[in-house]
Symmetry: C2
Subunit: 475 residues, 2 copies
């Protein structure tokens, strides 16, 4: 396949300038304009499914079933944001009438509106070639907010990226919108991403990717003469706490479900469970045996690319070599596709070893055995930040469950009481982003309709003339 | 007067640990607990007015009329946040019912709540010894959100700070709350502020002060092992665009009003107008003459302290020495209190000279003469970021006013169409914070009830048990 070529500084500048030129009009476009664009993008994705999915499969190894499902999700998401726009979400207003008299009670009329921040640089991820790539949630939410987007294509799926970019640009033209509403740059060189973030015409950055890359780009955004918001979704180890109540009731089924979640997509999910906290008792030991058996039997598909595979093997080797960690499942002879790994350690070792808190991206998990509630809470606190924490068996209204929920809430953006963290529903209530390092901006979400809020800056209009208030949708 | 002593690292640690110990229970406290605390703080401030205002006057030179008004505003603000708490603002929930079926349409139940972020470090400002100091808006909004506060007192008003801290701690105890709900550190050394921001127990920082200090502390917050949000309200030059329509109708009155705003509080307002954009025509020239006369006659009170005075003189000297700038008003012989300054330059010089975009904190303004709408827009674009932009005479529904409003919206957090930017109403619609450098977090506000949002992190509960949903106020 043809790799992406690195966009030149001139090409980056040209893409951002086109976005800047389109920003004012698109930022004031009507709801119908934006929702029609989003729906047309969804329709076009579905219409080109037969050519896009094979391209994606060839470049990602994720398989047609998953990729068709992911394309469905991406189209669903684009239409979901269209619904949000039609319902007026980007145009919310708070209107405080004037109050006669001296301050502090007396006040002028103040009308709080939200304005699109301007051109958004969107960094596509490798592991979801549709849902977190060119037309994924970041692009959908930015367009819904009225912001032009300049996508930095992921070099892991170059042909799919080019095909999706071409599709998007065709739809933008068909909708009668300026080309600058949707632009793209490409390339694997660090300079491409840095150049995009540093461009003075970029107003915000949305990023899904590695902790290392995200932290570096967040610093670039902060070090600009005019710093801009950097919405980065980075690494996460997604602890699952399997309490005795759940294991006694349902241990074997949970072990099978968990093995499926760990190996889903070859573990290449930001919500893949990386740490399993179990009591060191008979039920816990049986559960770990069942989990180990299921993982040993699993046959994940190949990883996205050689770099990710090398990173996975390096992470697994780090755990294998750790003096306080025991290997429970490891392949005899790794071949084309990686095999699942399972490791175990105790709470004290986990808490003391910062290296064990790093994400291993791929089908691997670390069992942490605990003896007490206090140890469980301490393990969660050691994790510091995670997209999700899952609590199995915390249904009872009991003090120990209250303490566990508090600990989970401290470190996570989403707390689950059933099921597995892989799979992130696109809804108004969703929160995909927890404390650092899982997000650089844990007050915002990159999945779900609140993702809009990242691109709408609040603005107060004081004593605004009637024409301006009317243009904002107020009488 | 006794200067503040520098809190030791042990004292800082002790204050933050006490806040951490109080955070879980206070974060789950009922609305009635928080609103009672906020109202009791307001009551105590008013009850001790007779001792607090003279202390503040001795340390700030702001005069009893202003300081009584500022105390009123501070009490109003505390009660306003109490009303917000009683109305449930910190406890908002989005509840998405489960939808049966396969994803993407099928989904689990997701309940979006907001949880207090934890202990907040609050840096008091010098220029509002009540409203932006120990019990100012940052403290009020953090307490309303359920976050303990550790105030870094401003060394400019040490006795008032100590008296207000003592008052707050007394009220906290009377309300039966742990002392850690409200703590304080003090000192002028950089190490005190840096040590507070670096403490791992601090979860967010609220800051009002200089661009230099704020940018440095924002970097400290970003460079922590676990970065935290830094809500900094920094420098702003608050352009006023005086259009011919306004000057023809009302020039002399506007000149008098503007002179009052420039010299209010000796110019020590973050919203003080620093740049006045006028057409280079007869009406504009007459307006500038009237403004110059009013400023020459003004007798501001002394500045807050010698350091601020020195900074003002240095800023005025920079303008005086600039080859493209003409001095219109300058005192013959500066004495104890500074006299107002007025300078003028043309659009091209302003746009080309970055040094002219820096705030001069004090009673000084720079008139920028323009010949065209295009030049006016270019002057606003050169400013980049400001708390406010004021447009006088933009009432007509005309293309040139649309263009001006767009330019103002691009760079400001608040756009005014009448009056002056000094004076910031505390309402739901208020937005105090525009693009950098006026704020490090322009998606948030430090004044008005949306200030609460800075301290409430969103969290999605997936398939939450009934006891947890009930505790969050849902059936």
């Amino acid at each position: 396949m043809t790799p992406l070529t690195d966009s030149t500084p001139e090409q980056i500048d040209s893409a951002v300038r086109a976005a800047q030129a389109a920003a004012a009009d698109f930022g004031r476009s009507a709801a119908a304009t934006r929702s029609a664009l989003l729906r047309a993008l969804a329709d076009a994705l579905e219409a080109e499914r037969a050519s896009l999915v094979p391209l994606a499969d060839a470049e990602s190894h994720l398989g047609p079933v998953r990729l068709h499902g992911e394309l469905d999700r991406t189209a669903f998401q684009l239409r979901g944001f269209a619904d949000q726009v039609d319902a007026g979400a980007p145009f919310t207003i708070v209107d405080d009438a004037a109050v006669p008299g001296a301050p502090p009670a007396g006040r002028p009329r103040l009308t709080r509106v939200r304005i699109p921040v301007g051109p958004v640089a969107m960094f596509a991820a490798s592991n979801f070639p549709f849902a977190f790539s060119v037309l994924g949630g970041d692009t959908a939410s930015a367009l819904a907010a009225g912001c032009p987007v300049v996508v930095k294509c992921h070099p892991g799926h170059p042909q799919l990226s080019r095909a999706t970019v071409a599709l998007a640009q065709r739809v933008v033209a068909q909708q009668g919108l300026p080309a600058g509403v949707f632009g793209a740059v490409e390339g694997a060189a660090v300079a491409v991403g840095v150049g995009l973030v540093q461009h003075p015409g970029i107003a915000a950055v949305a990023f899904t990717g590695s902790l290392r890359g995200g932290a570096a780009l967040a610093r670039v955004a902060q070090d600009r003469p005019q710093p801009i918001p950097f919405y980065g979704e980075l690494g996460s180890i997604n602890p699952i706490v399997a309490l005795p109540a759940a294991l006694q009731a349902n241990g074997p089924a949970l072990a099978a479900t968990l093995a499926g979640s760990i190996t889903l997509g070859c573990g290449q999910f930001c919500t893949s469970p990386g740490v399993i906290v179990v009591r060191d008792d008979a039920a816990g030991q049986a559960f770990v045996r069942q989990l180990a058996e299921a993982l040993a039997a699993a046959t994940p598909h190949p990883m996205l690319h050689d770099g990710i595979r090398a990173g996975f093997e390096a992470g697994a080797a780090r755990l294998t070599a750790h003096p306080g960690v025991t290997t429970l499942v490891a392949p005899d002879s790794p071949d084309g596709a990686p095999r699942a790994r399972l490791f175990t350690t105790d709470a004290a070792t986990f808490i003391a070893s910062h290296a064990l808190h790093d994400e291993v991206f791929g089908p691997s998990a670390l069992v942490v055995t605990v003896r007490t509630l206090t140890e469980t809470v301490a393990v969660l606190d050691a994790v510091q930040g995670s997209l999700t924490v899952t609590l199995w068996g915390a249904e009872a209204d009991a003090p120990e469950n209250h303490a566990l929920v508090r600990a989970a809430e401290r470190i996570a953006g989403r707390v689950l009481f059933a099921g597995v963290p892989t799979g992130v529903a696109v809804t108004a209530a969703q929160q995909h982003g927890g404390p650092w390092p899982s997000s650089t901006a844990p007050f915002t979400t990159s999945v779900g309709y609140a993702a809009l809020d990242r691109f709408l800056r609040p603005l107060a209009l004081q004593d605004a003339p009637e024409w301006l208030v009317a243009a904002r949708g107020l009488a």
